[in-house]
Amino acid sequence: MEKNYDLTAVFKPRYITFFKKIIPIFLTLILMLADHHSKQLNSVRLILGTATKPLYHFFLIPRNTLSLMNNHSRSKASLKKYVQDLKIKNLELNALAIREKYLFKETNQLRKLLKLRQHLPILTTSVTVISDFQSEHLRKIMIDHGRQHGMIIGAPVITKNGLLGQITNIHASKSEVTLITHNAATIPIENLRTGTRAILKGRAPFSDTEILYQPVSSKMEVGDKLVTSGLDQYYPAGLPVAEITYVEKNSRNAITKILAKPTVPINKVDFALVIQPITPRLTKISKKQIKNKHNAYTRKATDYSNIAK
């Protein structure tokens, strides 16, 4: 028996309206997947961000005006006190810096004697936090320096209290900093008291971090201070990262659960310092060294050939 299919039924208005409602949602889902899996949309984001920059600044006019008014409303006396405090702090820091310079020189000389690799001086750039997106599924901040200012992906960002995060995305004049509490952030750390090395991982949406893969026999205790170990060649060694707040040792589990609170109050950051990562500088040095060695070998080879002649 032959069946007659009514093709016009598919194009009925109610079906069309249904598809009209569903198609944008499907397209959005595809867009989300594409953005997650391909890096090509990053350039689209970059272009869109640059194109909407004037609009963005325009939208921020009310906020900037409010903050400007707030700054102007500060009394003269409080400002004088603030400047005086800053001057005292600056003096203290200067004294510390002189001492640090001397110690740095001394350790490098000792390392030279022991034929160990030299410590590289930390190069920093001061930046201002321009926006803060610490929503439920985002642990990121934006800083006012970008590709134009020589920022590079992977550069650690610190404050006066310790490590804040790492640059993960760069735009023309701003950069995205992923905070240490982001669940994709992992940092090689060292316990200052015991010297144990471990890996610290963010626990977003929670505002603390977790130390991974510590055995039950681990000697970490509540109150221990954690600093960067410098093993990843990105974070310089010795930067304060977190303090242990919770240790759960359960004989049933092979791994101890250790939680740590970041030393930096992540919600209250206005200014930060971007440290130039060690790895690119190391590779530059090694390239230079290789080139020098190559030149020396070629010189030697030409000398030998001359002697042979």
Partner: protein
Amino acid sequence: MKTSIDYKFKKPLLFIIIFVVIIYNFLPSQLSLIIPDSIFLFLLFRSMYQPDKNYTIYTIIIGLLMDTYHHTLFGTHILKYLMIKQPAYYTQKYLKQCSVLIHIIIMFLILSGSSLITHSLIYIIQGNKICPNIFLSPLFNTLIWFFLVTKNNNISLKRKNVNHIKNIQDTNRQ
């Protein structure tokens, strides 16, 4: 006679409202969880009181702008905004007649449902854990909605009651 349902925005006024609403959403804040999403509310209002108007393109443009600004996955905000359109459209007739409490409960369910679906999708795609605080923002949005709309809703309810009493009186007379 104009009822509370017949909200008509003239185009310049509409653009001014969109502009103000975007400025409000662009204000960087430490309390992003408990500050209501004004664009969300505006679109909800439009889909409730002007269901015949198609605003998908507006939604996509605003959503893209928000995604670029907030550095979230492209489509997160668009999806969030589109997800409220359908439930609001299908429940609008019932919502205009029901009591204030039920109205608020349904609105909270719509808002939190949209938020939950979006966060679940982000969890599936990116693996970001779902925060238990995701219902805070819908709660604040619902509270703002309560202050914005309940007054008008009461008027419509009163009108409905008056009409209902008149009908009963007519039938009694007959």
